[in-house]
Symmetry: D2
Subunit: 222 residues, 4 copies
């Protein structure tokens, strides 16, 4: 059985930058070491190298561009991410949507660079499309619940179940993460029970007064 995976997206929150980012990364590393539950972080591009250097947990990029090295000003090719120490990347987050062709190109580039891939989707049908592309993970995040504090696990378990089924049907090797409003061990437990491999979350940890306590709660029922 696959070990659960908790992925923390730092977005561009101030609390996910500088010393505060270190505090979260340290907590994630401690909780991962104590419990064996895999916990990854997705810091901003400018902090990725620093985080990957100092911590042993998986460090993801928040976005990848499916372009080669070359004349691509302001873009993030796969080789930049591996040089910076990333082990994976988000693709098509709701705050950084991509065309189907860009998603496919980013995915192919990430794979060539041995990066794990998480394609974010907004509904069951989009999950089917994304899963058919064959990433490591699809993260289903109903946009209206992102950052709402209302957990997709309790507010809309049907979308999680449907996404797990759609991914299973289109590509059984693709794992599903539940996202949007996840904030407790109970949410994580529901997501796992519905067939997910883990969760993608952001403000629930990043903006918490005590990130380590939240992380310990999140993994408590894995």
């Amino acid at each position: 059985m696959t070990s659960p995976f908790i992925l923390i997206n730092f977005k561009t929150y101030r609390e996910g930058t500088g010393h505060s980012a270190d505090r979260i990364a340290r907590a994630a590393q401690a909780v991962m070491e104590d419990t064996g539950v895999e916990i990854g972080i997705a810091p901003s591009f400018t902090e990725l190298r620093r985080m990957a250097k100092h911590y042993t947990i998986p460090v993801f990029a928040q976005h990848i561009d499916g372009v080669d090295a070359g004349a691509h000003t302001g873009r993030i090719p796969a080789y930049m991410l591996t040089m910076a120490g990333a082990s994976g990347t988000l693709i098509n987050h709701s705050e950084r949507r991509l065309t189907l062709a860009e998603i496919e190109a980013g995915l192919a580039a990430a794979e060539s660079a041995k990066l794990q891939t998480v394609i974010c989707t907004n509904n069951i049908r989009a999950t089917a499309g994304a899963a058919a592309l064959g990433p490591s993970y699809v993260a289903i995040e109903p946009p209206e619940l992102i950052g709402s504090g209302i957990s997709v696990a309790t507010a809309d378990p049907g979308i999680i179940e449907g996404s797990v089924r759609a991914a299973e049907e289109k590509n059984p090797s693709v794992k599903v993460l539940a996202g949007a409003g996840i904030h407790s061990g109970k949410c994580v437990r529901i997501a796992l029970d519905l067939g997910c491999t883990g969760v993608l979350l952001a403000s629930g940890v990043v903006k918490a007064d005590d990130p380590e306590a939240v992380l310990r709660d999140l993994v408590s029922r894995c």
Copy 2:
């Protein structure tokens, strides 16, 4: 067995506008009536209503926006297309790429309005993703061959075969059109033999001196 489908994209060619558009539409209608092979046209937005009113052949839009009626300046909602008489729409053409979320929204909107849907893709993997979304058709068009005069059917049969297989695997009810460089009955025959339901083409017909002759050749080996 499904009847073959030839879809002619008028793009924004001058030869696909005004009197010249009528000439092509008339030819398509004559050839369809004579041979029974379904021939559709995709004129520009500003000519869609006029074409749909005057001809009995299927008229497609070149693009749809997955938005409702409302405050969406410059957008093309499904209801506009049906009001104008369209019976289907292209989605995600290589000259009008969309995000995965927009493709899914356009598809859902088109379906609610009973419009046929053709999602355009650029490679086998993208075809898998598009087919998993469940449109009426996926049109596979290697971008480097579009408008090249070099037929995908002869230059890259592998991409057609792979796309047909990918669509079959992800959603057997989705039909595949071959696009890019199609210009003769021989190209169409190869596409059909490789498992396609038809072809999507543009300049081969639109810029031809004698569009009717080209159309008659295109359907000659169906």
Copy 3:
């Protein structure tokens, strides 16, 4: 002195389509004939030709693509607009934002086709940038007030004044329209008093129970 200009954006409102669009266009034509105040309409692409054919008032497109005739599926080149009978076009509406390069290309294309141009902007500084490009009009529309029913003329006269001044400074031949929440003759009067040449509005007319009454009120204090 320049005659005032009232431009009504039909967006994709159902009330701005079909018979309802005709009702508004007829009203606009009647009011323009009675009062001499210029009233233009911006219907959807699929209705543009029909409206331009039946009414003598200026008909604008909601968007233009700065591309030539050619391989531009789903795009709206200038020549399509003139063929359909348009006399002008919106550019960069807040619901259809464009890159600076696209705005400039659309503007140049529109000019070559003798189309009037209205670049929409969201604040004073963007107005300065847009005016420096030299369109016929800049329409200043604070995004937060669009469709709000709260008139920019009363809620934020400073942004109108600042925009008029910025346009004057960067290119004195560029006229300014005030947009967002405009709904009465009083709003129009304020806009004119602040130095605008007219207004750009949508729901205030399009969704009105009696569009003609609203139009008569709008021009009443010109």
Copy 4:
């Protein structure tokens, strides 16, 4: 009189990454110290912090997003850039085009963070629009010459002259950089003689066998 400014865009060239990036940065620093000509570099996001920490020359970002700290996955707010040690940023590079609203927002965000700003443009009219927004610099780069090895300074001095004039007219405090194909001290000299403050270049230095020699040549006639 303003001191000349040479800005080297590392794009995503492999030669602008890792050890090779250090080699260029070291050379730039040495040449700047020896000659007093200001030389800046624009490395990738993932290397920005490292470069800013190790070198005393100005370090620019290749792009900025005009968003605040917050829920903006994969974006680059101004505060991230200042935290990483940047002293300025490119905006709207031809490989990373932005809407007018995004350019204006990025500019405002950069200014609040005391970052220098370079808006890239593609022709004289776009330069007028960009200059009216009031950045520190406008960099005029005819897209067809970027990376061509053909210098804008010799191939199209008219576009440089016209851009300098347009900027002067719309906002005299805005300085102009010439870009595209710049590769020698002669190009730089022509640009300065035409009224530019400096140049923006990439492959000419980044892909050179001996970047320091190229840099010394570039500043030789300043």
